[in-house]
C-alpha cells in the first residue's frame, strides 16, 4: 500500500498533463525528435553535472538509477 502511494507523484502530474494532450500522430513528431527536445539533450554534460553536484551537494538522484560512487562525498 505504501509503495503504491509512492507512485502517486508520478501518476498525478502525468494525468493532469494528459488531460490537455492531443494525439500527436507518428508523422507529426519531427519537432519532438529534435535533439534539443530530448529530456537529456547532452548525456556527457549530464554525467559531468551529476558528478560535480554529487561531490558538492547533499542531494542526488535524477531521472534514472544511481551509478557507482566515488570518494568525493
Amino acid at each position: 500500500m505504501k509503495k503504491s502511494l509512492a507512485l502517486l507523484p508520478l501518476i498525478i502530474p502525468a494525468g493532469l498533463v494528459c488531460s490537455s494532450c492531443q494525439p500527436v500522430q507518428a508523422w507529426e513528431r519531427g519537432t519532438l525528435a529534435k535533439p534539443e527536445m530530448a529530456i537529456d539533450a547532452d548525456p556527457m554534460e549530464t554525467t559531468l553535472n551529476t558528478h560535480i553536484f554529487f561531490s558538492k551537494e547533499a542531494s542526488n538522484g535524477g531521472h534514472n538509477a544511481a551509478g557507482g560512487g566515488c570518494g568525493c562525498n
Binding site: 508523422w27 513528431r29 525528435a33
Partner: protein, 155 residues
Amino acid sequence: MCFMVQAAEKGEIAPAVALPLLQDSGGPVLLAEYEGQIIYLDFWASWCPPCLVSMPIMNEIRNRLQDEGIAFEVLAVNVDSHPEDGIDFLLDSPVDFVVLSDPEGTSPAAYGVRGMPTSYLIDPEGKIVMVHEGFKRSDGEKIEQKILEMAGNSQ
C-alpha cells in the same frame, strides 16, 4: 489532429494518393497512375533515422528489379513539416525514384500510419499486400523477396 482514421490494412484497396513532387515543381503525381505495377509506397521524414537507412537500400532494390524487367516502382512520401529538410537529405543521398511532398500529412492520415517509417507493398491491382513498420538493413532482403514472389505470381 484529433481524428483517428482506420488504418489501411493488408488486403484492402490502397487509399488514393495525389501529391506534388518534393524536389521539382509540377505534379500532382497520382498513385493511380502506377496501376499495373508493383508499388512500394513509403512514408518517411528526415528526422527519423531508420527512414534514412531505408532510402539508399530501397533505391538499390528498385534499380536492380527494374533491370531484371520487373514492373516495380518506389513512391516515397516525405512528411517533413519543413519540406526543405527532406530536400537537404536527398541532395546528399540522391535517389532515382519519385519523392512526393506531404507536409500537411493528409496521406499518412488516410493510411492511418502508426510509426515511422511505414511502407505499403501494393499489387498491380491497387491492393495492399504488405504493411511494414520500421526499417532495419535486413528488411531490404525480405521486402525484395516479397516483391519477387509477387512478380512471379503475376506472370
